[in-house]
């Protein structure tokens, strides 16, 4: 284990959590991330090997899947973002490389992203928040949906795992701007 203390994307030693109105916005740092992109002409090979590893087929455009500890998010044609619990030593890149061999390129992405989990007891509040954030119809972002979009000039990935939750991934360096946008909108709705 390195004898260095990591910081969260917001610069804290522990993840930040804001409760505004009926909405909780929680900085989350518990996923290891890596991209898996099929080599040219190897998409089915790569997808097959990945499916064998995570235990389910990789998702198509606009979707995410969850299988055991793994989550897979469609990122671009023949490209996915894989997430697994971040436990101590981060070796997600090595594990995925072992699984896909030369069928895909794997790139470590754990620290490229800041993630905020938004939860609300009343699912309508998640929809109301979305309405103020970006041009995605809340009705379309049903559980299992994952999409890339833009708000406040920030490129983000939105993950809707359940009705009452929404995870937003944005660039780590702009985590504070992302957090500011989320909390401002939540306060505006509170």
């Amino acid at each position: 284990m390195p004898d260095l203390a990591p910081l969260t994307p917001l610069g804290g030693t522990t993840p930040r959590r804001d409760r505004i109105g009926g909405v909780t916005i929680a900085e989350a740092c518990d996923w290891a991330l890596a991209s898996v992109t099929a080599r040219r002409g190897r998409a089915s090979d790569a997808a097959g090997r990945m499916a064998a590893m995570i235990g389910t087929a990789l998702p198509g455009p606009g979707a995410m899947v969850r299988s055991g500890d793994w989550r897979a998010v469609w990122l671009a044609p023949e490209s996915w973002l894989l997430a697994a619990p971040l436990a101590g030593q981060d070796d997600i890149e090595a594990r995925l490389r072992d699984a896909v061999g030369d069928a895909a390129s794997v790139t470590e992405q754990t620290d490229a992203w800041a993630r905020f989990d938004i939860t609300a007891a009343n699912p309508a509040r998640v929809g109301a928040l979305l309405e103020r954030l970006c041009n995605i119809p809340p009705a379309r972002l049903t559980p299992g949906a994952a999409t890339r979009t833009v708000f406040e000039h920030l490129g983000v990935i939105m993950l809707r795992e359940t009705d009452d939750s929404l995870s937003i991934l944005g660039a780590r360096s702009s985590a504070r701007s992302l957090h500011h946008a989320l909390t401002t909108v939540a306060r505006s709705l509170a």
Binding site: M1, P2, D3, L4, A5, P6, L7, T8, P9, G11, C29, S35, T37, R39, R40, G41, S79, Q89, D90, A104, S105, T107, E108, Q109, T110, D111, A112, W113, E131, R132, L133, C134, N135, I136, P137, A139, E152, H153, L154, A171, R172, S173, S174, A175, R176, S177, L178, H180, A181, T184, V185, R187, S188, A190
Partner: protein
């Protein structure tokens, strides 16, 4: 005092009183009032002064078309000028101030303009402020600026928050009058996702302002029931107080919801207004119609109102705008005003009907004057009587303190024009109606479509919804609509009553019938010319009232029909939109996102001064106690790097992960110099050209494995280079097996530079990694672990010219690594340095950066021409060999050193021979980057100089005309430090 509150009636809450102030006077109104209705109820008629002549003006209308009753609402930083009193919802504590008057509304000194009216006619600006030219900026402009405009901005920052959002609908219904409500009910009952927006705070449109029945109930009650039903539907979104101001491409509409404008102060956190972007599959425009006046002499006196508005004040707000009223009309709708007011117990003096065959409305106590017109008015600050000329040419006065004028109704078709649709003239209603070229997906219903009756509005609303539902694959429910009036308008067009005195068409811009005649006389008869020459239809009301009457007048003057005369069309916004709403949440420092480096918390703790670099905030320098000028800090940092070891966060440089079996071929094609044979574990400097041969970017690229590269870009070009590579991968060479992804944010990268950098790194890199000069030479790279097993990448590259490395670790550990390096390097003099020192170091070393890579320079200009390989093809290589880019006297990068150490040398200066005149013809080149070199003790610079390579040793002048500098410089090599690179290979 003329106006008063009626004993009964109106959709106001009489049980509750709201206190407000107008020009300091304490007044009261009720919930449900607008500022205009409350002012009239308090007997206030004079509310403003006109734009040009400062004529006394009153309330003309009861809606968004109001040209006169513009006030400054609220005070202090919240003061909002030019607010239409007719749409401002009354709240307790409201303060309003009249505008464009001095010293007071009743006595306005600038009313003297009115006496000078003959000099101030149409187009006077174009004739008056011509000579002498020296007066344009010093005299005329300040004068015009002082006179222009009505209200004044507070100048203070807006204290309120604004928000924005996105809505999605199957059907957007604009306007909640009878047509809009019928449409929304049909679509809502059919299960479609409906957004119903209305600018009023009470939905119902004219139903709230009229007295006739809908089935067995009143219009207002039917509207309230319809709204209640819609509110109960989960898939229907009601947006009262929301103006749809524009129809944009692809079924997108802009709307502003006034969330808190009707509250004394917005509750904390609550936005004052929300800008909605509504994406809809279908739209029904049911915006109603706007009444138009008839122009006659002195028709701008307070007390002269639109007839429909006059009765709206009585019916909806329980206000009699006068004690004794008269009506001047050319259609049957105007008669309703006389009837309704009489029913409210108001004395009606006369019904002056321009139609010779007008039916007698038989109003108790009122004279009926068919075929008569109003030819003048009296009353200094408000109407006291009107002069009438009857059909048999008798002229006499009629005492009245309010006159309702109706010249017909113009469909509110503005949104139909927002995508260049042209209205068409409809003789049946004597008005422009929506043309055939509507924005895609839009239908128009009710009065906005030129359907005059309530029955027609209800049925056309339902029919439009049925058609939209059909297109959406849904079935409309049967029309369940109440019985409603279905009377014809019976209108006989009349635009103005001829006379010698001024008759006002555009009350906001003080445009008269005479001005239109003058415009026509002077050759500005075409409608677009007339508008601009006379300023008719400009400013906040955009001619909602004035345009059509003016066209009628112009048609008469030219002897053409109005259809032939044509009309100007409308652009967004329908009504004024505040800049705050357009800005939304993006204000102040959060105007755009900010990117922070991984070591930002540490840098903050060190007291760093930060600088914006694109979206990034980077440490510019780290002042220490006793340093009073930034140069002291920067000089210290530079010298510390050259003598010991310095640390700088360079995470902002773009990092692109390139993998695939063809990765080497790919990199070799995007850089102009050779990369195919770069060994694994080695880094190379690469120069990237655009397709046209101009340098795009530079950086170092490391080969981590046979099929794996990491490319670095400059901070500014991280995005553009990634886009460029993606274009090459997807479009130019789809046959190559290459995968790209950005990893800029994933790694914290710290430059460790200076002769003691290796010693410092050896203290943090885990045992087992040999970074000695032999094992890890200049331009080596590789994976290492640091601080007890943390994965890291080490690159031996140098921007400063010293022995230097860049160490990358997962971003979350960047801050801790920086602290550790500082701590372990304390005895070595480890010093943090910022972007200023970084820049000085690279200028001393002669490395190109943003100033040199400005999108105009070639490899030859940078004296890197030999890097453009002729042994392979790469993007831009062929174009870089164009003869025009390879002339003998081309600009070449040189160093400059000021001859006097205390002189100043600025980037942007131009170079001249010692005796040459400082003019463009003698320009020899320019300074691209400049700094004070603490190492040399003199100002130095990098510059592009014509034939520069051969001019070393020459003395030139660097001239900066902006700052008045003229500095003697000596041309040198661009490499001020260690030209042979011995230091970085140490």
């Amino acid at each position: 005092m003329t106006g008063r509150r009626l004993e009964h009636g109106g959709q106001i809450d009489r049980a509750q009183a709201l206190r407000f102030r107008f020009d300091g006077r304490a007044l009261t109104g009720h919930p449900g009032d607008t500022l205009a209705s409350a002012l009239l109820a308090n007997g206030v008629r004079l509310v403003g002064r006109s734009f040009k002549y400062h004529r006394p003006r009153g309330i003309l209308s009861a809606g968004p078309e109001e040209p006169n009753a513009l006030v400054t609402l609220r005070s202090g930083a919240r003061a909002e000028p030019n607010t239409r009193a007719t749409v401002a919802e009354l709240f307790d504590g409201l303060t309003a101030t009249s505008q464009n008057r001095w010293p007071s509304l009743r006595f306005d000194a600038l009313a003297i303009n009115d006496l000078a009216a003959p000099l101030l006619g149409a187009g006077f600006y174009y004739k008056t402020f011509m000579w002498p030219a020296a007066f344009w900026e010093r005299v005329y402009e300040p004068l015009i600026r002082r006179a222009a405009g009505l209200g004044r901005l507070s100048g203070a920052p807006d204290p309120d928050a604004y928000d924005k959002g996105f809505l999605h609908a199957d059907l957007l219904v604009i306007g909640a009058g009878p047509a809009g409500l019928a449409a929304a009910l049909a679509a809502g009952r059919a299960g479609a996702r409906v957004v119903l927006a209305d600018e009023d705070f009470r939905m119902g449109g004219r139903l709230n302002a009229e007295t006739f029945a809908l089935g067995d109930t009143t219009g207002a009650d039917w509207a309230a029931a319809a709204v209640a039903e819609l509110a109960g539907m989960a898939h229907v979104r009601l947006l009262p107080r929301t103006t749809v101001f524009g129809a944009f491409d692809h079924g997108i509409y802009g709307a502003v919801e006034r969330v808190a404008d009707h509250l004394p102060d917005p509750p904390p956190g609550t936005p004052r207004q929300i800008l909605w972007r509504i994406t809809t599959r279908r739209t029904i425009l049911a915006a109603g119609a706007t009444e138009r006046p008839i122009a006659f002499a002195d028709n701008d006196r307070p007390g002269v109102m639109l007839a429909g508005s006059l009765r709206a004040y009585a019916n909806r707000w329980g206000v009699a705008p006068g004690k004794r009223v008269a009506v001047f009309t050319n259609n049957d709708d105007g008669l309703r005003t006389a009837r309704d007011l009489r029913a409210h117990g108001v004395r009606v003096a006369a019904v002056i009907d321009a139609r010779p065959d007008a039916p007698d409305p038989r109003i108790d106590g009122a004279r009926h004057l068919p075929g008569a017109v109003v030819i003048g008015t009296s009353g200094r600050l408000g109407l006291t009587d009107v002069t009438v000329r009857t059909a048999d040419v008798r002229e006499f006065r009629i005492d009245c303190d309010a006159l309702g004028v109706s010249g017909g109704w113009n469909p509110a078709l503005h949104l139909t024009c927002h995508q260049r649709g042209r209205p068409v003239w409809d003789d049946r209603i004597a008005a422009f109606a929506p043309g055939p070229d509507l924005p895609p997906g839009m239908a128009v219903a009710g009065a906005a479509a030129g359907v005059p009756s309530t029955h027609g509005a209800l049925h056309s609303g339902h029919a439009a919804a049925a058609e939209a539902l059909d297109a959406l694959g849904r079935t409309a429910p049967p029309a369940d609509l109440p019985q409603a009036e279905d009377a014809p308008l019976a209108l006989r067009p009349l635009w103005h009553v001829p006379g010698t005195r001024r008759a006002w068409l555009d009350l906001q811009n003080d445009v008269t019938v005479k001005d239109i005649a003058q415009a026509q006389h002077e050759g500005f008869g075409a409608v677009e010319h007339m508008k601009r020459y006379t300023t008719l239809g400009m400013a906040t009301d955009q001619g909602k009232i004035a345009n059509v009457p003016a066209l009628g007048v112009m048609a008469e003057l030219t002897g053409r029909s109005i259809a032939e005369t044509g009309t100007t069309i409308f652009r967004p916004p329908y009504t004024p939109v505040s800049l705050g709403a357009l800005g939304g949440r993006a204000t102040g420092p959060t105007f755009k996102p900010t990117r922070l480096t991984p070591t930002h918390p540490w840098a903050e703790a060190q007291g760093a001064v930060f600088v914006e670099v694109g979206q990034w905030l980077r440490a510019q320098y780290f002042p220490r106690a006793g340093e009073t000028h930034w140069r002291q800090s920067v000089d210290r940092e530079v010298l510390a790097v050259r003598a010991g070891v310095g640390l700088c966060d360079v995470t902002t440089l773009g990092k692109i992960d390139i993998q695939g079996t063809d990765a080497a071929r790919f990199v070799n094609r995007v850089y102009c110099n050779g990369f195919a044979r770069l060994a694994v574990g080695r880094v190379r400097y690469g120069l990237m050209l655009r397709e046209d041969g101009i340098v795009m970017d530079d950086g170092t690229t490391a080969r981590l494995a046979e099929d794996h590269f990491v490319m670095t870009t400059t901070t500014a070009n991280a995005g553009p280079v990634f886009r460029h590579l993606e274009f090459a991968r997807q479009c130019l060479w789809p046959d190559l097996d290459v995968q790209l992804i950005s990893t800029t944010d994933a790694w914290a990268q710290i430059a460790v530079a200076g002769p003691k950098s290796r010693t410092l790194l050896q203290r943090v890199i885990d045992p087992g990694h040999d970074i000695s000069n032999a094992a890890f030479p200049f331009m080596a790279c590789g994976a290492v672990t640091v601080c007890g097993g943390l994965r890291a990448r080490l690159f031996r590259i140098s921007f400063s010219g010293e022995l230097a490395y860049e160490l990358a670790v997962p971003a979350r550990y960047g801050n801790a690594l920086m602290e550790r390096l500082m701590e372990r390097g304390a005895d070595l003099g480890a010093t943090p340095y910022g972007t200023e020192a970084l820049s000085v170091l690279r200028i001393e070393k002669g490395h190109a950066a943003g100033g040199e890579l400005d999108g105009r320079t070639t490899a030859q200009n940078l004296r890197l021409g030999r890097m453009v390989s002729t042994k392979k093809d790469s993007i831009g290589a062929v174009a870089a060999r164009r003869p025009g880019l390879n002339t003998e006297d081309t600009l070449e990068l040189v160093g400059l050193r000021a001859r006097r150490p205390d002189s100043r040398l600025a980037a942007g200066s131009h170079l001249f021979a010692p005796a040459a005149r400082t003019e463009a013809a003698n320009d020899l080149g320019w300074v691209s980057s400049a700094a004070f070199s603490p190492h040399l003790g003199a100002p130095i610079a990098l510059a592009f100089l014509r034939g520069g390579a051969a001019r070393q040793g020459e003395v030139l002048r660097a001239v900066n005309l902006l700052s008045g500098q003229d500095t003697e410089v000596e041309v040198t090599s661009p490499h001020f430090i260690d030209p042979d690179g011995e230091r970085l290979r140490a």
